[in-house]
């Protein structure tokens, strides 16, 4: 119950922060979440030797995160980048749920 309460506070807090300051919340929070889920989806979806892909993605994670963060302040529309990062996260979650990891 306590966990759900903390989770609810977190979701409401992030929602409110996104509404009030979309660029700042995106650079701090959404870029990180999008990076983690996007890379997880790539790890499952990309063809080839699994451990090699895992190593390439290890190299890709910081680049991806820095690019997402930079994009937050590059795009002239403050909502476009926020919505794009949320979309990337949601689509990536879909990929992670639908593809089974290698045995």
């Amino acid at each position: 119950m306590m966990m759900y309460a903390i989770l609810a506070v977190l979701v409401v807090g992030i929602g409110l922060a996104t509404w009030k300051a979309p660029r700042l919340t995106s650079v701090i929070w959404w870029s990180l979440i999008a990076t983690i889920f996007f890379c997880s989806a790539l790890l499952l979806a990309l063809p080839g030797d699994f451990s090699t892909i895992a190593l390439w993605l290890t190299l890709f994670v910081p680049i991806c995160w820095a690019v997402f963060q930079f994009w937050c302040y590059w795009d002239s529309s403050k909502w476009r980048v926020t919505l794009s990062l949320i979309t990337i996260t949601v689509v990536s979650i879909g990929v992670v749920v639908s593809i089974e990891p290698p045995v």
Binding site: V27, A41, F50, T52, A54, P62, A66, Q69, F70, P101
Partner: protein, 534 residues
């Protein structure tokens, strides 16, 4: 680029630097000292100041004698033996096992390579602190331990990457700014030009160091998070998929090859003997040796081979078999980051470039405060910016003093050996806090900076004297011997300290704020207005 986008990008550069600038400064500065871990280890412990040897004593009797003190039935997870090298002229061993009370034990031993005599292990202090404060901020166990600390350092590496990207984009006249150093103008212009010029010239190094640092840190936190999400929380499956399933012991005892037989195996590529030997599943029929041969191919530190510890036959499907481009690039990250791939002089180049990264970070912070304290960008009170300026001065200038204080503590320490590392930590933070307070008491950041710089210089000069008086090893004698590592540390501090003290001494007593052309015009106009009409 349109004006609004340029301002947004500039704000990103400025705020990412201001919010996390001091942390990046600390990581950059401590990184300069982390480069010399091996050298400081020899300076720290006089027992390790040994003459390099061509031949060493047999390894197996040393290991057998070492293992004789283990309780009967202890299952060793692994034993690692490092053979003597030019920089570490002694035999070094590690072993890992589960104690009777269920705790994990990491044991270490060192032997004289010529005589086989066991060398006393001194508790870790100075060298480890300087290395690990850079790697993981010595993050306390209560807050998640070193893994969290290392992950945080990796995240700061990403922030530095972001700061570099936005900083480069912010340069609209990049070609002119490469050569624009107006040294005799106002301090603010001087700082601004230095920040830009050093930042641009050092760009390839700063990009490399932030990327490799981010990788080395992120590997412990974010990369596992990515993999665990992909595997829906099954951590063991992640490790098996990435590293391959480990060879499990069967419980059938078998006669193993000795460490000396393993040490006599040569690399098929280079013909070199192994420098580092691991044995896994000790005493079991599945026991294996991991042999690490020194590689002489740029950023590749070792060629590795996995062989059976029963008959020496290479193990098939080992992760060392077929190094891929991805594995080679990943393995190159640590040598690239710590400059270990081309001798001591490369480390000095890294030291200079790392120090310049720390300096431009500090200059960026100083510019941000100065613009608000004395310019027209500030929205808070002058007292607020003055306080920020004192904190900045204290943190930036206090860190070198705290670092140098550790060398003095190391040689003057008289407490229990088990408390050495903890005392090192308290001394480090204690000395740092004292100089932050000094910046507030002094109330003049320029004078505080100059005085602390002078103190740093004098502490550096005193280092060889301290080492000579406490250990009897004077650098001017030892530098001519074949175990001169500690003597070179002394000499470097002597020269570095003298140069620092001279710089501080040569600085003017007061901050000279040379007026800019526009400022001079305003003053002239004001003077003209106040002069009586003729």
């Amino acid at each position: 680029m349109d004006r609004i986008r340029h301002k947004r990008n500039y704000d990103l550069h400025s705020w990412s630097g201001v919010v996390l600038g001091l942390v990046i400064y600390v990581i950059a500065f401590t990184g300069c000292f982390a480069l010399f871990y091996q050298e400081f280890l020899t300076w720290e412990d006089p027992v390790l100041r040994l003459t390099p040897v061509e031949e060493h004593v047999e390894l197996q009797p040393l290991v057998d004698e070492w293992n004789a003190d283990l309780p009967t039935g202890t299952e060793l997870e692994y034993i690692r033996i490092d053979r003597p090298t030019e920089h570490t002229p002694y035999i070094e061993g590690w072993r890992h096992y589960d104690a009777e009370d269920g705790s994990h034990v990491f044991d270490q031993a060192r032997w004289n390579a010529q005589t086989g005599e066991r060398l006393a292990i001194r508790e870790q202090g100075l060298a480890l602190w300087l290395l690990d404060f850079h790697r993981d901020l010595m993050w306390p166990e209560a807050l998640g331990g070193r893994t969290v600390g290392r992950g945080l350092v990796g995240i700061f590496g990403v922030i530095l990457m972001l700061s570099i990207i936005s900083g480069v984009v912010a340069h609209v006249k990049i070609r002119e700014e490469f050569f624009s150093l107006r040294w005799f103008r106002s301090p603010r212009l001087r700082w601004q030009d230095t920040h830009k010029v050093v930042g641009l010239w050092g760009l390839p190094f700063f990009s490399m160091i932030s990327f490799t640092g981010a990788i080395l840190g992120i590997v412990t936190l974010l990369a596992p998070a990515v993999a665990v999400i992909a595997f829906k929380g099954d951590t063991e499956a992640v490790y098996d998929a990435v590293l391959g399933a480990p060879i499990m012991p069967t419980g059938v005892p078998a006669e193993m090859m000795s460490f000396d037989q393993a040490a006599a195996m040569t690399s098929a590529e280079s013909g070199a003997l192994p420098e580092r030997i691991f044995i896994w599943n000790v005493g079991d029929e599945t026991a294996t040796f991991d042999l690490f041969f020194p590689a002489e191919r740029g950023l590749v530190t070792y060629d590795a081979l996995k062989v059976s510890a029963i008959d020496g036959v290479p193990v098939s499907d080992s992760p060392f078999d077929t190094p891929t481009l991805a594995s080679q690039i990943t393995e190159a990250m640590a040598p690239l980051h710590y400059g270990t791939y081309n001798g001591i002089w490369l480390k000095f180049v890294y030291f200079g470039l790392g120090l310049s990264l720390a300096i431009i970070t500090a200059l960026g912070l100083m510019m941000w405060i100065e613009r608000r304290q004395h310019g027209n960008e500030g929205t808070k009170s002058e007292r607020f910016y003055r306080t920020l300026s004192h904190i900045n001065t204290g943190v930036v200038m206090g860190l070198p003093v705290a670092t140098l204080a550790l060398f003095y503590l190391d040689k003057l320490y008289v407490g229990e050996e088990t408390a050495r590392l903890a005392t090192t930590g308290w001394t480090y933070f204690g000395a740092w806090v004292v100089w932050i307070l000094y910046a507030f008491i002094r109330r003049n950041d320029y004078k505080a900076t100059r005085e602390i710089l002078l103190l740093c210089g004098l502490m550096g000069i005193g280092m060889p004297v301290l080492n000579g008086m406490t250990t009897g090893d004077w650098f001017f004698v030892d530098i001519l011997t074949d175990h001169a590592g500690a003597a070179y540390v002394d000499l470097t501090f002597l020269i570095g300290g003298a140069l620092t003290a001279l710089t501080a001494w040569a600085l003017p007593n007061h901050r000279v704020a040379k007026q800019s052309r526009s400022e001079r015009k305003v003053v002239s106009a004001e003077r003209a207005e106040t002069q009586p009409a003729e």
